[in-house]
Symmetry: C2
Subunit: 305 residues, 2 copies
């Protein structure tokens, strides 16, 4: 991973962190009641100070590759990070994956309580749409409305939440999922939001129809690569490096492509996806501005945590 | 309550029911994966076939009073009912109010399971924004984006979810809430969404700035009246009529204005609010078209369940 890429990744993470800190400030917004302190603390706990911010980076970097680098994409990135954080808080709940540890810290319902975690997740989902719909994100209302509609499709019952429902059902199913069913589940559960991140950047950057289509393909491929890399980490990693419980997929008979293809097969698939992602960037005709998106594909495949 | 009003209430409920049935259809939307069956069944269970649809009626009737009666306000009404249904599903969870009964039926986590109820609630919130952001709701993107932004403010940490957090905190607080604190809690928890319902109707109906302001006041007053009527019902009603557990507020030391003002004091306050709501309708200068909104104020105050 070259130094330029690492610097951009860090810069995007810092920018989105500042935007989130501002959106989730204790100071009430003009004309609004104060948000209850403990609820807001739980929202901040779940959202700030953690993670690679890959989704944020995809928004910001895609928009930048198209020539846009103002506050708009950073705000959209913050919205997606709120949505992602909400999904983690709810997935960790006792009734769901029942996890105590996330990024090396207690999960939100452990650090606060279950009711606060449910409500903080709920409010973080709302915040994502509030940020996207705000004129500060883009002066064009068509763009804002389209971002809200697309995020809703990516996050709802036909996307992220639907994927989580399929994942929970798979745990208690009598027969293992087919490779195709696993790929669909993962495309919904994690792929949809990663793809939306790229599509949001493309929309905010004013991509042509052809470039938008190529970038959408790139986003879908990145989503698939991310999930295989995640499954490989779970199969090979240890809890200390991951900051969350390792080996839990195998322990709970979750359907993963690593289980279906084997570790070597999954690694080969991952390499194919990296090549496919780079080809999609070429198809978007971004020239050198697309190099960071290609590097992102390698980063996603090579990540260690 | 006159027959014309009852007919309109029933017609609005039927229209929004049909819109919800269509939005939550088992048939996948074009280009989208199928929503997992059990998740969708839980979403339908929580949303269809129940309730007075007061929020839906306020959207539809406000838009109609301004001369608009196409499918747009019905879609916005369906969005608000999805948002409302999500809040009920999550509020009923064991970690929250821990209720087994809602509208005379088992609550969603009893009829399905807790994980499915959490996810169904999550997906219903998403669906609300998806419906509002869809061009079928309004051809003007400014209107769609503004509806998304306003719903987010009404539903989030400074609105509905914040109110629920304050309500949970009040249960374990050592001292009872002040009358002012109760009013703020209720304005956030139930008032914000009722007010948004009226404001959405005003926006979709193309209200002038002056009419929009008067109608916003009307919405806020309706919200306050609704909550006092609800507290009176809880204090005086029985479980069979309500379809949910009666007397639970007093049993759990929840802050209500009935506890603070007494039953007679609360009834007087309710009568004042009805008068105030009617005055706000007059201020909106809708002529006879506003009569149904005035009747709604009486309906809200007089309801028996």
């Amino acid at each position: 991973m070259n130094a330029m890429f690492q610097a951009r990744l860090a810069a995007a993470a810092a920018a989105v962190e500042a935007a989130l800190d501002s959106e989730l400030a204790f100071e009430p917004k003009p004309g609004e009641p104060a948000r209850p302190r403990r609820l807001l603390e739980a929202m901040r706990y779940a959202t700030l100070g953690g993670g690679k911010r890959l989704r944020a980076f995809l928004v910001i970097e895609t928009a930048r590759a198209l020539g846009r680098s103002d506050a708009g994409p950073v705000r959209a990135a913050a919205a997606i990070e709120c949505l992602h954080a909400y999904s983690l808080v709810h997935d960790d709940l006792p009734a769901m994956d029942d996890d105590d540890l996330r990024r090396g810290r207690p999960t939100a319902h452990k650090a606060f309580d279950e009711a606060t975690a449910i409500l903080a997740g709920d409010a973080l989902q709302t915040a994502a749409f509030e940020i996207l719909a705000d004129p500060a994100t883009d002066s064009n209302a068509e763009t804002r409305a389209a971002l809200c509609a697309s995020l809703a499709r990516a996050a709802g019952a036909a996307g992220m939440v639907g994927g989580q429902a399929l994942d929970l059902a798979a745990e208690t199913a009598e027969t293992p999922l087919s490779t195709g069913a696993i790929a669909l589940l993962q495309a919904m559960k994690t792929g949809a939001l990663l793809r939306f991140s790229v599509e949001a950047g493309a929309r905010l950057g004013g991509a042509s129809a052809a470039a938008a289509e190529a970038l959408s393909t790139y986003g879908a491929v990145i989503g698939a690569a991310f999930q295989i890399a995640d499954d490989l980490l779970d199969a090979e990693g240890d809890t200390a490096t991951l900051g969350k419980r390792a080996g839990k997929d195998a322990g709970r008979h979750k359907g993963t492509l690593v289980a279906a293809l084997g570790i070597d097969g999954a690694r080969r698939k991952l390499a194919d996806l990296v090549a496919e992602a780079k080809a999609a960037v070429d198809a978007a005709r971004l020239g050198e501005a697309g190099d960071a998106l290609k590097a992102t594909a390698e980063f996603v495949a090579a990540r260690k945590s």
